[in-house]
């Protein structure tokens, strides 16, 4: 028995340590990493589809500089501890660029491994501000705006368009909601134009929010800025209207969901929420969605357009730089504008895409309208 275990262990060690010999440079190895199984798979699989569509098109047109693009797909289940393995595997297989990862936590865990190997990583969905702003990951770029950009858009809208001077900032204590709220508070205080009269977290799932609503009322806030998701948002806005509190409601992407309007009903009328810029009128976006329908027979899922754009941007940069070497590709990303479904974009030196961002939407007659 003991012997058997030993043999098995030895076999496993061999399996892990045997290097995967890459075929010598006749293809461009394009890695795709993200959640492809598990409960967040719906965030990761559309990215795989996007890469497949673009790469098939590119290869049909003769590839990049005469080289075919080869797709390598790896699952990280959105877990940081799995993501490091995923990254190691892709690097050992010799990837030159990686589209991914999907979740901020997993991306952060995987980035140092790619960094050591000099591999460019572009995420369609990781919005954690630190990934670009910390400067620790020079090999990282993304085609989605970071979380703080959203808070900035909301704050500017509240101050400059709506002209509020007293704002209550409320959040749901979660990573996403609290992160948004803290940025909003910071930007509001830095602006000097408005006072944050209240900054508090509510307990998600509580049966009744009337106490916090009474507190908001007493604070004299003209608007409530809420960081969190739509279930709490609809409860709070419903309770505000029940308690005859007229203050405006401004929130984030987690609220810009049709379920919010469905659940909050008439109370949601007039509420503001920020969300990614509307790209449905962009011809490239229409084309990308159509290609997805032709190839997979269904509407694309989350972050599809960001992933499609990231694939285009990376392949375009490799093409222009005529190299897959990190510095050359980065330079091409920063200088060459590329037309994508999310707009005409290029990248700043930190890796954030310029040209993608958020707009503010308002609920009018039961639908979100871009302002």
């Amino acid at each position: 028995m003991k012997k058997k275990i030993l043999v098995a262990a030895a076999a496993m060690c061999v399996a892990i340590t045997v290097p995967v010999v890459g075929s010598a440079g006749d293809t461009i190895k394009f890695g795709v990493a993200g959640a492809h199984s598990g409960d967040l798979a719906s965030y990761g699989l559309p990215t795989v589809n996007a890469a497949k569509i673009v790469i098939e098109k590119v290869n049909a047109n003769g590839g990049i500089n005469g080289k075919m693009v080869e797709l390598l797909v790896e699952d990280d289940v959105c877990k940081p501890e799995v993501a490091t393995n995923t990254a190691t595997k892709l690097v050992s297989e010799g990837v030159e660029v990686v589209l991914g990862h999907i979740c901020s936590g997993a991306t952060k865990a995987a980035l140092p491994i790619y960094k050591n190997a000099g591999v460019l990583v572009m995420s369609p969905s990781a919005t954690n501000p630190e990934l670009t702003q910390s400067g620790e990951y020079p090999n990282f770029a993304r085609t989605i705006a970071p979380d703080d950009a959203q808070a900035m858009v909301d704050v500017e809208f509240a101050l400059n368009t709506l002209g509020y001077t007293k704002i209550a900032v409320v959040h749901d204590k979660g990573d996403y909601g609290k992160g948004f709220a803290e940025f909003a508070k910071k930007f509001l205080e830095e602006s000097g134009k408005a006072e944050v009269v209240l900054f508090e977290g509510v307990t998600p799932g509580a049966v009744d929010y009337s106490a916090i609503v009474q507190k908001i009322k007493r604070s004299g806030a003209e608007a409530v800025m809420f960081g969190g998701y739509h279930p709490e948002a609809s409860k709070i806005i419903g309770m505000m209207r029940k308690k005859r509190l007229k203050a405006d409601f401004i929130s984030d992407d987690g609220v810009k969901d049709n379920t919010f309007i469905k659940v909050a009903g008439k109370d949601s009328e007039g509420a503001y929420a920020s969300g990614p810029k509307d790209t449905t009128k962009n011809p490239l976006s229409i084309q990308a969605v159509q290609e997805h329908k032709d190839m997979f027979g269904a509407d694309p899922g989350a972050f599809f357009e960001n992933a499609y754009s990231a694939t285009l941007a990376m392949l375009n940069a490799i093409d222009k730089a005529d190299s897959t070497e990190l510095e050359a590709v980065k330079k091409a990303l920063q200088t060459e504008k590329v037309d994508t479904p999310v707009g005409s974009i290029y990248f700043d030196e930190k890796g954030d895409a310029i040209g993608v961002g958020f707009s503010v939407y308002q609920v009018k007659d039961g639908v979100f309208v871009e302002l």
Binding site: E200, A211, Q214, V263
Partner: protein, 300 residues
């Protein structure tokens, strides 16, 4: 002073919501000494049943009062059927097992029911129709107490009075108390203990269903998970008031609701749970059986 009254009313309505659920917890515990963790799920199933019935009836064009009454009755019957079945399947076979076994069985039942509703219905939040209308005469006070708050408060009071009456003065109540005191002895004097326990579960589940209807209408949305969170708080309230005691459950719920409300109002809503549970710890330190609970004597 106005602010104090506003917070007081918020606390009362929150407490009344907890009380509607806590009553069922405390009743079952009082009779068979089991913490029925699936009670929160019964409340959730009651809310879903009334949601479905109310939606169908409003499409058929019934008047609001009829919708409320019929969906309430339907929810109560349906939830009672669940309560009855759960007891037969998950608790009765374990009646002579160590106390931990039915507790684990209850937690399992709770998880099972949540996932069952998740699969059978949806994981999304659904808008619950406003079954309690905004009363005309409440309009001047609407900024302090809403109509649904008032209905929940009144219902809780009535339910508590009826339950106390039933347990103190009726035949079945006497039988329940006898079962609670000594099951074997109750059997020996000719009480059908199985029927009494089933009746307890049916009453508790019907209460939870009525609570589900009122609370969902007050909050305006439901999903498969609402029973868990509300259930935990209601359970806390029942323990605070002395689990097993009917007035204790209401008292505990009101104290919990008021504590949370004042903590939010005067300190910060970040700390409402800290205050609520610190209070629980404090009370249990000085009065381990809860405010109105009877100290349990070990039966030899």
């Amino acid at each position: 002073m106005d602010y104090f009254i506003e917070l007081f009313c918020s606390g009362l309505s929150r407490g009344a919501i907890y009380a509607l659920i806590a009553l069922g917890y405390t009743m079952v515990y009082g009779i068979i000494g089991l913490i029925n963790f699936a009670h929160g799920e019964i409340y959730m199933i009651g809310a879903f049943t009334s949601f479905i019935v109310a939606t169908v009836l409003s499409i058929l064009g019934f008047p609001l009062l009829a919708i409320v009454a019929l969906s309430g009755v339907a929810a109560a019957i349906w939830a009672s059927a669940y309560g009855f079945t759960i007891e037969k399947i998950a608790y009765k076979p374990l009646r002579h097992a160590p106390r931990l076994s039915p507790l684990i069985s209850a937690i399992g039942m709770s998880i099972f029911l949540q996932n069952y509703v998740l699969l059978a219905q949806t994981s999304d939040f659904m808008p619950f129709p406003e079954l309690i209308p905004e009363f005309e005469f409440m309009e001047p006070y609407a900024h302090v107490v809403g109509s649904s708050d008032l209905v929940i408060l009144v219902t809780t009071t009535i339910v508590m009075l009826i339950l106390t009456y039933v347990i103190k003065f009726t035949r079945i109540g006497k039988a329940m108390r006898a079962t609670a005191q000594d099951r074997t002895m109750a059997m020996l004097v000719g009480i059908n203990v199985n029927n009494i326990i089933s009746a307890t579960f049916i009453i508790g589940s019907a209460l939870a269903a009525i609570g589900g209807l009122l609370i969902a209408s007050h909050i305006g949305q439901i999903n498969f998970y609402i029973g868990f969170i509300a259930g935990i708080k209601a359970f806390t309230a029942a323990v605070l008031g002395g689990i097993g005691s009917i007035p204790g459950a209401v008292l505990g719920s009101l104290i919990l609701g008021l504590t949370e409300s004042f903590a939010t109002g005067y300190v910060s809503s970040d700390y409402e749970d800290v205050f609520a549970f610190s209070l629980l710890v404090l009370i249990l330190l000085f009065k381990p059986s809860g405010l109105l609970g009877k100290a349990e004597t070990q039966k030899v």
